[in-house]
């Protein structure tokens, strides 16, 4: 999988997650130097680019779909990325963000912004995306090609998956990672 200058273009972003999966990506340490020769990160919290290009070879999503903004990002990634990868438990199964699902959204907001607040409690409405009633994994809203579970997936697991994809093979992440790893 590659385009143009023989480098695989990669876009990443985080939805409702803790950014730990992106930190684990950075934990590939010196292997990042070799990877940089083979991939071009065109959009990501790691780089400065502010817009997602029209066509990307590999899209990597961390985090679950919890708000309007997450939903928009997931759909945009699906539309523009040839291969879409769910990175980490939140993207793969909802994980911790989805633990609010058994409760009504109003009760969750009330608990977070009123009951547990001492000073000037108020529910934020401006400049923040609307929360969805149910938190879903990424494949609950768009088709996903590769699933890499783990909280977070180890750097070794991310490295294995990326090198397999760059080589044009389909990785089997169950060999190297699991839910909660």
């Amino acid at each position: 999988m590659s385009s143009g200058n023989n480098k695989v273009t990669v876009a990443t972003t985080w939805l409702d997650g803790c950014s730990g999966c992106h930190m684990s990506f950075l934990d590939m340490d010196e292997r990042l130097v070799d990877l940089a020769a083979q991939i071009d990160i065109v959009y990501s919290p790691f780089v400065d680019a502010k817009t997602l290009p029209e066509q990307v070879d590999l899209g990597i999503l961390e985090g679950s779909v919890s708000s309007d903004e997450d939903l928009h990002k997931a759909r945009e990634f699906r539309a523009r990325c040839k291969v879409l990868l769910s990175l980490g438990d939140c993207a793969v199964n909802g994980n911790v963000p989805a633990m609010r699902n058994p409760f009504k959204l109003d009760a969750v907001i009330e608990r977070a912004y009123r009951e547990n607040v001492d000073l000037n409690p108020q529910i934020p409405t401006e400049g923040v995306p609307r929360l969805l009633a149910t938190v879903r994994p990424v494949h609950g809203v768009v088709d996903v090609d590769i699933f890499v579970p783990g909280c977070p997936p180890q750097a070794d697991a991310i490295h294995y998956v990326l090198t397999e994809l760059i080589a044009g093979r389909t990785p089997d992440p169950s060999q190297v990672t699991r839910f909660g790893a």
Binding site: V92, N93, G94, P149, F179, G180
Partner: protein
């Protein structure tokens, strides 16, 4: 009811499992022969030393090429039997079964006391469950922390009934039982009294040790700290049956 015969049948049968020629005692089940011969079959409700319920269906195998899948824990070996334990069809069924368990209740491994020591988590990995295809039910269940030493989190329970059987058959207390049907099905202590108020519980902790997930745990454990020791069970069970 225990499937094992009281008087061991010492006659020997020969059979093939995955093309391997094997011999076994006639009173053994397919899963026992597989375990002895290091042939991996996933299982959840089956446990060496407890009676057989055949509830989880994870150990299903194909017998003599027939279309009907049979639970390896509840099927005795027969002379000339031919068993397949790992066909594409079986892998597909097992994967779906594990996914349904994950979709039914809350199994967030990352924040579970049994993370890293959980049979369900391990099964998901070995059955290739890297995501769950069906929608999650997102229903909350109770947590009973009333017992001074142990805790039950029904959100993590897979209804294997190992706790019910070990309490009845090995400890002899029968504190645990099952109530309700379908998604409302739950294990209960003493006619659904809080565990801490149970008159029959001896606080032996056998139920906690045999529980495959983070449903039955020791109080005071944090994420990944609940390591279970199941060695006692086969030893106790053997001493019981030789009495």
């Amino acid at each position: 009811m225990p499937i094992r015969a009281q008087q061991p049948d010492v006659s020997v049968v020969t059979l093939t499992i995955d093309g391997q020629d094997l011999s076994a005692r006639a009173d053994e089940t397919i899963i026992e022969v597989c375990r002895e011969n290091k042939i991996p079959i996933p299982s959840l409700c089956w446990m060496d030393g407890l009676s057989v319920v055949g509830a989880c269906r994870l150990c299903v195998v194909e017998v003599d090429g027939g279309p009907r899948l049979q639970a390896a824990c509840a099927t005795r070996v027969r002379e000339g039997m031919s068993v397949q334990t790992n066909t594409d069809k079986l892998q597909r069924y097992r994967r779906t079964l594990v996914e349904l368990l994950f979709a039914e209740r809350n199994h967030v491994c990352a924040v579970c006391v049994s993370n890293g020591h959980c049979e369900l988590q391990w099964l998901a990995q070995t059955c290739g469950v890297d995501h769950v295809r069906m929608p999650y039910r997102n229903t909350g269940y109770n947590v009973d922390s009333s017992h001074e030493m142990f805790r039950i989190d029904h959100n993590r329970c897979v209804l294997c009934t190992r706790c019910v059987r070990v309490c009845d058959e090995i400890e002899g207390a029968h504190t645990w039982d099952v109530m309700g049907r379908g998604s409302g099905c739950q294990v209960v202590t003493d006619l659904a009294k809080p565990w801490g108020e149970s008159d029959s519980c001896t606080s032996c902790g056998k139920c906690v040790q045999v529980c495959p997930t983070g449903a039955l745990v020791k109080q005071g454990t944090s994420v990944g700290e609940m390591v279970k020791d199941q060695q006692f069970l086969s030893i106790l069970a053997r001493r019981r049956s030789s009495r």
